[in-house]
């Protein structure tokens, strides 16, 4: 059977992520794929640059995997970086949609032990999700492609004349 695409299952990520944030008492959490694209997030606002965090975390994860491979390990354990006020946890796991990563930021109200405990619970919840939502109706990509030229013209015209 074909592996479901992330697009097909990502709507279901939001609720388990909220539960993880509530139970582990972390401040921020974002679920990303290996390319650093955001699938779900909780707690990010204008103070923190969500896509910047996601791209850097994907970079750390990718280089950690590559280092593990070079040293003959399949993968390294989760990553944990601690600063005086905030700590960062990057936990990776396999899902029906390939390798995903949870990036979370916490302070003294939580702890690495708590984060790891509820991370495991989060992963097992995700693994129990139905693999996809087949109830959506669909339109062909034709309309999208028809609008594409006009939208690109508008965007680039704005830039050139701006």
């Amino acid at each position: 059977m074909d592996r479901p695409s992330i697009s097909q299952i990502q709507d279901a990520f939001a609720e388990p992520l909220e539960a993880f944030v509530r139970e582990s008492n972390v401040r921020l959490a974002v679920l990303i794929n290996r390319a650093g694209q955001v699938l779900a997030q909780y707690g990010f606002d204008k103070v923190f640059d969500l896509v910047g965090v996601a791209s850097l975390a994907a970079g750390i994860n990718a280089s950690s995997r590559a280092l593990a491979n070079q040293l003959g390990e399949e993968r390294f354990e989760h990553l944990h970086h601690a600063g005086p006020a905030r700590q960062l946890f990057l936990g990776h796991f396999e899902s029906a949609a390939g390798q995903l990563m949870l990036v979370t930021v916490f302070d003294q109200r939580s702890s690495i032990g708590l984060v790891r405990l509820f991370f495991e619970r989060f992963v097992s919840q995700l693994r129990q999700l139905p693999s996809m939502d087949a109830s959506r109706s669909a339109v062909s990509g034709t309309d999208f492609e028809a609008e594409l030229e006009t939208s690109l013209d508008r965007f680039f015209q704005d830039l050139v004349s701006g």
Binding site: Q37, V38, S55, A62, S63, R136, G141, L148, G162
Partner: protein
């Protein structure tokens, strides 16, 4: 791999600027960053050495606007061009939806261009991607410098697959947006062909 979030009506695509060292990949992103209005871009992240050479990647998120009701976003990355950094170059290429190959038009750099293009083929193959399956755009950069090959000569040396190509002087901004537009179009056309875009109810939002 393009990501379509049905709940929040967002499409996110990744374009990687590839090419030999000092061909102008970072300059392309810097020019784009300097021209795009603040509400259409995020922070530019650069992981560079002390000498301002790209170490891991530069990253620039852009928002193109609405297409068929979907907010369309691009994540632009550059790779480190220096031969030494192939391991990190390979990592940045992971999940790319399209590639802009920034070639240096100077005669002295032709060998480096060819070597880098060959390296792109190899690294894509290591990710299981045949270069014919992914939109690739070639940019012939540094047209403002003396001692450059003609576009015809460069096409003959590099563009044997006849992919879209653009002359550019990235430092002056010439050809930068033509290249980006071409890459965006290639990536989104491929997405439109590949995907049926579902009309969900938008409940249970992710993202």
């Amino acid at each position: 791999m393009s990501l379509v979030n049905y709940a929040t009506r967002e499409i996110t695509c990744k374009i990687v600027y590839y090419g030999p060292g000092r061909s102008g990949k970072t300059t392309n992103l810097q020019y784009i960053h300097s021209r795009v209005p603040w509400d259409r871009k995020g922070e530019m992240v650069s992981l560079a050495t002390e000498a301002d050479r790209t170490l891991f990647f530069d990253f620039l998120p852009l928002e193109l606007g609405q297409i068929s009701g979907f907010t369309t976003r691009f994540q632009l990355y550059t790779v480190p061009g220096q031969v030494y950094y192939n391991a990190t170059r390979k990592l940045v290429l992971q999940g790319a939806d399209g590639v802009v190959f920034v070639a240096d038009s100077q005669k002295s750099q032709l060998d480096a261009d060819i070597e880098s293009f060959r390296n792109l083929h190899e690294n894509l193959l290591e990710h299981g991607i045949d270069i014919r399956q992914i939109p690739v755009i070639i940019q012939y950069n540094k047209r403002d410098l003396p001692n450059v090959f003609s576009i015809e000569q460069l096409e003959e040396e590099l563009n044997f697959r006849n992919v879209p190509s653009h002359p550019a002087s990235a430092l002056l901004g010439e050809g930068v947006f033509d290249t980006l537009r071409s890459a965006s179009e290639g990536v989104l056309k491929k997405l439109a062909r590949k995907l049926e875009i579902p009309i969900g109810d938008g409940a249970g939002g992710a993202g």
